[in-house]
């Protein structure tokens, strides 16, 4: 099956710093999403981005489908950005199944 690798596994930042999270995947995909799981466990859909670039406030994401990777940028990080960021992909062929990476645990210190 498709492999999804996220890096780094852990990231510690000072408030105000910028960061880049990476997601590599092993096959062509028709679905790629970034999620944030906050410290209370809630999973929030950040981006649906199978290709191209999107921005939402301090967060932006870019997927280069031909090279099988996606990047999530967090600028001017805040303590509320802490949590685990998951990349999830769906393979071409119409499957409804999303395969999740193991996540990047982000800690933003004040």
């Amino acid at each position: 099956g498709i492999q999804v690798e996220q890096s780094p596994p852990d990231l510690i930042l000072q408030e105000g710093a910028n960061s880049t999270l990476r997601c590599n995947f092993s096959d062509s995909v028709n679905n790629l999403q970034w999620f944030h799981q906050n410290p209370w466990g809630q999973l929030i859909n950040l981006f649906y981005i199978p290709s191209g670039t999107k921005q939402n406030g301090r967060l932006s994401a870019t997927t280069v489908a031909t090279e099988r990777y996606s990047l999530l940028y967090i600028s001017s990080s805040q303590t509320t950005d802490s949590g685990v960021y998951f990349c999830a992909v769906g393979i071409q062929g119409g499957s409804e199944k999303l395969v999740f990476g193991k996540g990047t645990k982000l800690t933003v210190n004040p």
Binding site: N30, N31, G41, Q42, N45, V84, A88, E96, K97
Partner: protein, 110 residues
């Protein structure tokens, strides 16, 4: 105005018991899912229903039985609970390729 809701939020029970988790979505989505998140935060799909029809059934013990009485509800019944069933169970829904997750049910089997 909760989009995807689950009950209960917490469930503590003894080994061997049978328990159910309920999920409801008011988004008008036609596909619903159950995911399991283990102690290492790894998220894996268990089941998916589209218009009350089972479309994804991963390698899950047959002690787990999903039931979808209508498009807005997907319940999960677990028989003969085992210690290894302890996890957080997330319900999700989608219309197309996006995913919207419920708050999770934290199951602890003693």
């Amino acid at each position: 105005d909760t989009a995807v809701s689950q009950t209960p939020k917490y469930l503590v029970t003894q080994m061997g018991n049978d328990k159910s988790i309920k999920c409801e979505q008011n988004l008008g989505h036609d596909t619903m899912y159950w995911y399991k998140q283990d102690s290492k935060k790894f998220l894996k799909i268990m089941f998916s229903y589209n218009n009350k029809e089972l479309i994804i059934n991963e390698t899950v013990p047959n002690r787990f039985s999903p039931k979808s009485p209508d498009k807005a509800h997907l319940n999960l019944h677990i028989n003969s609970l085992e210690l290894g069933d302890s996890a957080v169970y997330f319900c999700a829904s989608s219309l197309g390729l996006g995913r919207y997750f419920g708050p999770g049910t934290r199951l602890l089997v003693l």
